[in-house]
């Protein structure tokens, strides 16, 4: 029988490593680009466009050329197949056409503006404000839901808190990964990033509720006098469901990520990471936190604490 609860310190260690990498990345990003996450056109305003080059050009060539033409501050992402996503200051469509023409002439390649996106500062400010409001409303509503969903659990506050910690942990890891992608690969977060994040928060709460529901059921059936063993049995009971649900969604998301084109690949990536991490935290973190709290083994949470078996 697999012992998920017994290995909890290993799981906590893995999570700590991921979270610490995320925090370090947020700090580096703040220093390098003056923002913990690289903000996209939706939030900063300006122009972003997908340039299609045939034959393909090198990203470094493109960067040099953009700098030459007065767009040194532009963010350039390589989207594969000779496509680049460029985010720069406000450029009208006419100016964008000229810019693309000049770049094409210099780099000896045919350029096409496949997607042109222009956002005024006022719109961007409103989007940012509304995205923050949306996140707050969703968080409050989900907290209410958790309080309600855990009303029949033995210790609603404790169980609810563990579920919330698990979800916050998931969000932190995803944000950390995108911060890392931001200053390494120029990946920007946009309104769809927030969307994906809220969707996967919903998904991970679902998972945790299903797992906790089973723990509750098994506690009331008295399957074992030991709480840790009860939790472990419950995790094993729900393991099939958790993994199968995740797998079926992952099949399709993975296919979409690999074959679905550049336009929404990072949105799909948020969903994909959310499903993986959400499943991981439901199986390896949330229930284990309950055990830690029950036994008051707070030291077990620390990454380098002496392992108790």
């Amino acid at each position: 029988m697999m012992d998920f609860v017994g290995r909890k310190q290993w799981f906590f260690l893995i999570s700590w490593i991921l979270i610490i990498i995320g925090i370090v990345s947020l700090i580096i990003s703040q220093i390098q680009i003056e923002s913990p996450l690289r903000l996209g056109t939706d939030f900063t305003g300006g122009t972003s466009m997908i340039l299609q080059f045939s034959p393909p050009v090198e990203q470094s060539q493109l960067r040099d050329e953009m700098a030459e033409l007065g767009h040194a501050e532009a963010t350039i992402q390589n989207a594969g197949d000779g496509n680049f996503i460029i985010h720069t200051r406000e450029v009208t469509r006419d100016e964008a056409g000229e810019l693309a023409g000049q770049i094409g002439a210099e780099l000896d390649s045919q350029v096409e503006i496949a997607d042109y996106y222009f956002v005024s500062g006022t719109v961007a400010a409103r989007t940012t404000r509304n995205a923050v409001i949306a996140v707050i409303i969703a968080a409050v509503a989900m907290m209410f839901y958790i309080v309600w969903a855990f009303r029949r659990m033995p210790k609603p506050f404790r169980w609810g808190s563990c579920a919330v910690i698990a979800v916050v942990h998931n969000v932190f890891i995803i944000v950390g990964i995108f911060s890392l992608l931001g200053w390494i690969a120029g990946v920007e977060i946009d309104a769809l990033f927030i969307t994906g994040l809220l969707a996967v928060v919903g998904y991970s709460i679902n998972n945790t509720v299903v797992v906790f529901d089973r723990i509750r059921e098994n506690v009331s059936r008295h399957i074992s006098p030991d709480f840790a063993e009860t939790v472990n049995n419950s995790l094993i009971d729900t393991l099939g469901r958790c993994i199968n649900t995740a797998l079926t969604t992952l099949f399709v998301l993975l296919a979409l990520l690999l074959f679905g084109g550049a336009t929404i690949q990072y949105f799909v990536l948020v969903l994909l990471l959310g499903v993986i991490i959400g499943t991981y935290s439901s199986v390896c973190i949330a229930g284990q936190l309950l055990v830690v709290w029950e036994r008051r083994e707070w030291r077990a949470l620390l990454p380098f604490a002496k392992r108790t078996t």
């Binding site: 042109y116 969903a149 529901d213 969604t249």
Partner: protein, 459 residues
């Protein structure tokens, strides 16, 4: 019990049949709906939003003026031969916006030029060769064109007591009266047409609206001989032309004409490419999913696949037949569909896992099916609530200009999740009940439980 399931099966089959009929082929017109409405990221096209400078407009009349501006822009864009543009007036926090959607391959540059023009209309007369030239007059030694700017008040429509015809009544201001007197004297018995840019206004029948001057016009006059609809439309457009309503955007208290507040233009070939790639990707993913379900859950898995087929067909049908333009299929919407498919599978998985447990516990097949459903239901219900919360918040966020792509995802996910609960609870359950009840296949192995497992009992 048995007969109820048969009725449910008939209902499900009828629903499935209807859904299939309505979506195959996808581009056939059903109930006035043709094909799926594709968002601009898939169809290509432009979405432009301008703010209106209403500083010259009397307060309280902004709404009417904007309706007029909308009519003017509609005419200009139609004149470019762009099909089915969608033009909307939005009121955002006291600012009026004009949102313009141009689908498919469109000459965006030309459209933008047209939109950027002022909304003033000109009166034109015909020269000897039949060309329409601007009708002008002399006021204070200046040669001025006669335009809609000289209307003193809103034009309006009355119905003639004697002839029951629609009359368009207009009044001119002081300069306008002088101009109109000179021009109407000169053009007595000739036609005077109304132009928006280089395009004449046309009636519903496509004919140029060019009333014949029948009297000298000074302070006021009337246009007769128009159909009611034409007269109302003309009045609306003329009223919009009374005042300059420049379109552009506000930035730091300054108005920048012709600069859009927001623009997104997607090349139609990129859209086509996205469609092809997404269909391939979704196809591969769905096939993997179905194979997995059948291999892992055997017979119930097959039932789940059948119910997913019902789910897919009904969802597509909803997308196609939804009455308003609220549902457009976008790339994020496609991702929403996929996540909702995952949720639909999840509901089935929850049920089947419970069922397996019951079978292993030594229950009969029929009892296991019932217990599986009743015990999984609270979890299915509760687990979808957070998704609903997220969707509702996201639909609100999607109302923000810069985030309108968000709405496609949220709407699809919301409808998909609601429908997925129905397919799991009604469709899969009915299939399984009938299958178990028919006693055709009773071997537990077909339900994913090996005989040795059935011996094991719960603690």
């Amino acid at each position: 019990m048995r007969s109820r399931n048969v009725y449910l099966l008939i209902f499900i089959l009828a629903l499935f049949g209807f859904a299939l009929w309505s979506v195959i082929p996808l581009d056939r017109t059903v109930f006035g709906r043709e094909g799926l409405r594709l968002g601009l990221d898939l169809a290509g096209g432009s979405y432009l939003v301008y703010q209106a400078d209403l500083s010259d407009v009397e307060s309280g009349t902004e709404g009417q003026v904007m309706d007029g501006v909308k009519g003017v822009i509609e005419r200009r864009i139609n004149a470019l031969g762009i099909t089915e543009p969608i033009i909307q007036v939005q009121n955002q926090e006291g600012n009026y916006n004009i949102a313009i959607q141009l689908p498919g391959v469109a000459d965006v540059e030309r459209a933008k030029e047209m939109v950027g023009l002022f909304t003033v209309l000109e009166f034109r007369e015909q020269d000897e060769t039949g060309n329409w030239t601007i009708a002008t007059g002399i006021v204070d030694d200046d040669e001025l064109p006669l335009t809609s700017r000289y209307f003193k008040d809103e034009t309006y429509i009355t119905i003639s007591q004697t002839t029951a015809e629609a009359l368009l009544i207009f009044e001119m201001d002081e300069k306008g009266a002088q101009l109109f007197r000179q021009i109407s004297t000169r053009l007595m018995g000739k036609q005077l047409a109304i132009f928006l840019g280089d395009e004449p206004l046309r009636g519903e029948d496509g004919q140029i609206i060019a009333p014949t001057v029948q009297a000298v016009i000074e302070d006021s006059g009337q246009i007769t001989g128009l159909g009611l609809a034409d007269a109302q439309e003309l009045s609306r457009v003329l009223n919009a032309g009374r005042i300059d309503v420049p379109l552009g955007r506000w930035a730091d208290g300054e108005f920048e004409p012709s600069v859009p507040l927001y623009e997104r233009t997607v090349d139609a070939t990129l859209g086509q490419d996205s469609i092809e790639k997404s269909i391939l990707a979704a196809g591969i993913g769905i096939v993997l999913l179905l194979v997995f379900m059948i291999l892992y859950y055997r017979l119930p898995g097959l039932m789940a696949c059948l119910s997913l087929a019902v789910y897919g067909a009904v969802l597509l049908s909803i997308f196609k037949l939804w009455p308003t333009g609220a549902i457009t299929l976008t790339l994020p919407g496609l991702a929403g569909f996929i996540v909702s498919l995952g949720m639909a599978v999840d509901a089935n998985v929850l049920i089947f896992e419970r069922m397996k447990e019951e079978l292993r516990g030594g229950r009969s097949l029929g009892a296991a099916v019932e217990a599986g459903f009743s015990r999984a239901w609270p979890a299915i219900r509760d687990s979808n609530i957070t998704t609903f919360i997220a969707c509702i918040v996201l639909i609100w966020l999607g109302g923000t200009l810069g985030a309108f792509m968000v709405r496609g995802f949220a709407v699809t996910l919301l409808i998909g999740v609601a429908l997925s609960m129905f397919t799991a609870i009604v469709v899969t359950k009915t299939f399984l009940r009938l299958l178990v009840g028919s006693k055709v296949i009773t071997n537990p192995a077909a339900y994913g439980v090996t005989p040795s497992q059935t011996v094991r009992n719960v603690k």
